[in-house]
Symmetry: C2
Subunit: 335 residues, 2 copies
């Protein structure tokens, strides 16, 4: 049976939530990934060292049986340099949300005023703290990411020593932006390598495929696939796996987020094999991230096997992407 | 209190379904409309005179207390001329669905072969039977209507004496097509005068605003508003009100259709008043349709009043658009 080995897989964009949800889902990522960048948009966003350290402890406690490194992030605000110096050791990045743009982002940035942001972003540049950005405007849903490109450009130009990560990119516009500035990088989810808007609302409406940014047009999917499959050196895997209890998905007013954490590696094998690019998957799912972030995860070997794997209907009360469907790769062992 | 009177409102595109659903919802339209063009896409589409007559009888029986004319339609197939001559008296139009494009359309047209369609369409031209079309391809969801325009053109050119109605148009592309051919007409729903894709998936995902064709871009909404508000003489109101039981809307895999029948006139008053075009509403909601179809509905006077109207949470087991929200116009009386 065909096997494929991945070493130290990294999920560079992950939502673990808190409380019971955290306890239920953290072990799923900890099992098959060496580490993950943990998003700070809890109901009270993570903005203090105390909250950050306590949250990290809860994550580690939720997944006691696996070696797993939670790479912590702060919720972007205009922070004092002394605070950043103090917290730098504890964080891997700072995550910026435009205000109100997605789940729990109301306390985000409401205007991109370079003058106001300069002290924080210069301090981050000096301290080598990357800036992760949810890059959407409040415009028309299909245009939000493309409309955000001038803000990426503004930040990339003004802070050339700041590593800026365009998170969960979904458009050809973002792909085209990637090589325009040395300090721009990107994460791509697995669902955005599979879906267009057609899959979300083209047939029946599919709440479990609804996320922000929403899946875009076929030409956008093609552009994302092209850089992921070649493992473009500025691109990393970040699942943006975002669990919601199923009653918040299957109702009037379904929350945004696709839950992929426990099936992401299997799906990635399927996609990369389909395009005969399995050899590039290691780079996409770990090596690029190690280089970009300068992180050295401890050894973990994930052996995937090409055999049918039926996605569970739910993991506790969270419905995963492709629930009940059969994937062509399964996780055989983790060491 | 401000009042607005509408005479003989007509809904030129309506789904009444069958059985208990029909019994529950037919009275809602029969109360405030003089007549409606009834779509034939039942689970077994209406393709025989017997089925058509029997369905009409069930509709009339479901709404015994109101004067209401169900303008019946056949499901398009390549029909024999003798059959069309025989059935002509019983029908107002024939409705064409591309195969598989929407609810109960699997038996629709799978290729637009003019040679094959010619006998039917020439007979319809001679008999004065309009052709109503659900104009979507099976392409990307945001492009399906625009991609269908060449088929409208092909039919309009080849059958200049056939009245062709572009049903529930949603795009600037269709608006721009309207005046290119004398024999092209259009219906517009009330929800497509209110929504863009933003309302469906731009915030939370809204199953009760999900329909086919899906609501499009802001510039499409503007184009639709421009011809509706001026009551362009080739444009008619057709609600495309499409009830589904709420368990088929609020679930994984939500069915397409917005239920507006009992709130359509109130919403239209709100929209037309907002743009200071209330004087044009009568033409949009009745007069144009009378002229285009050559129909003479019996007298009905609907008095609307400007006062708050809270949309019910459900009509039997069907959740309407804007359930629980407050509209600014209410139906005061119907005579």
């Amino acid at each position: 049976m065909k096997k494929h080995i991945l070493l130290m897989p990294l999920d560079m964009h992950l939502h673990l939530r808190d409380g019971v949800m955290l306890e239920n889902i953290a072990p799923l990522t900890a099992y098959s990934f060496s580490g993950a960048v943990i998003m700070p948009n809890l109901i009270s966003p993570i903005t203090t060292k105390e909250d950050l350290v306590a949250y990290k402890e809860r994550i580690v406690a939720a997944a006691p049986n696996d070696y797993f490194e939670p790479y912590m992030t702060l919720f972007y605000q205009n922070y004092d340099k002394n605070f950043l110096v103090d917290v730098a050791e504890e964080i891997t990045a700072i995550k910026l949300y435009p205000a109100g743009i997605t789940t729990n982002s109301d306390d985000g940035v409401s205007s991109f005023d370079i003058k106001e942001m300069r002290p924080t972003l210069e301090a981050m540049s000096q301290l080598g703290i990357p800036l992760c950005i949810h890059g959407e405007t409040d415009g028309f849903v299909m245009d939000r990411e493309a409309e955000f490109m001038p803000i990426y450009e503004l930040l990339a130009k003004n802070f050339p020593d700041l590593k800026i990560i365009m998170e969960h990119i979904t458009t050809k516009a973002a792909v085209d932006m990637l090589d325009k500035y040395d300090n721009l990088y990107a994460t791509i989810t697995v669902h955005h390598l599979l879906l267009t808007l057609d899959d979300v609302v083209g047939g029946m409406m599919q709440p479990h495929l609804f996320c922000k940014p929403i899946a875009k047009r076929p030409e956008d999917l093609d552009a994302l696939l092209s850089i992921a499959l070649e493992a473009h050196p500025k691109v990393m895997f970040g699942s943006d796996s975002a669990p919601h209890p199923c009653n918040k998905k299957e109702s009037c007013g379904c929350a945004a987020g696709v839950f992929t954490a426990p099936i992401a590696l299997q799906l990635l094998c399927e996609i990369f094999e389909q395009f005969d690019k399995l050899d590039n998957l290691q780079t996409f799912v770990s090596d690029n991230a190690q280089g970009i972030y300068g992180i050295c995860p401890e050894f973990k070997e994930v052996v995937l096997e090409k055999r049918p794997f039926v996605v569970p209907d739910a993991y506790s009360n969270v419905v995963p992407m492709y629930a009940g469907e059969t994937l062509s790769w399964a996780i055989e062992s983790v060491d």
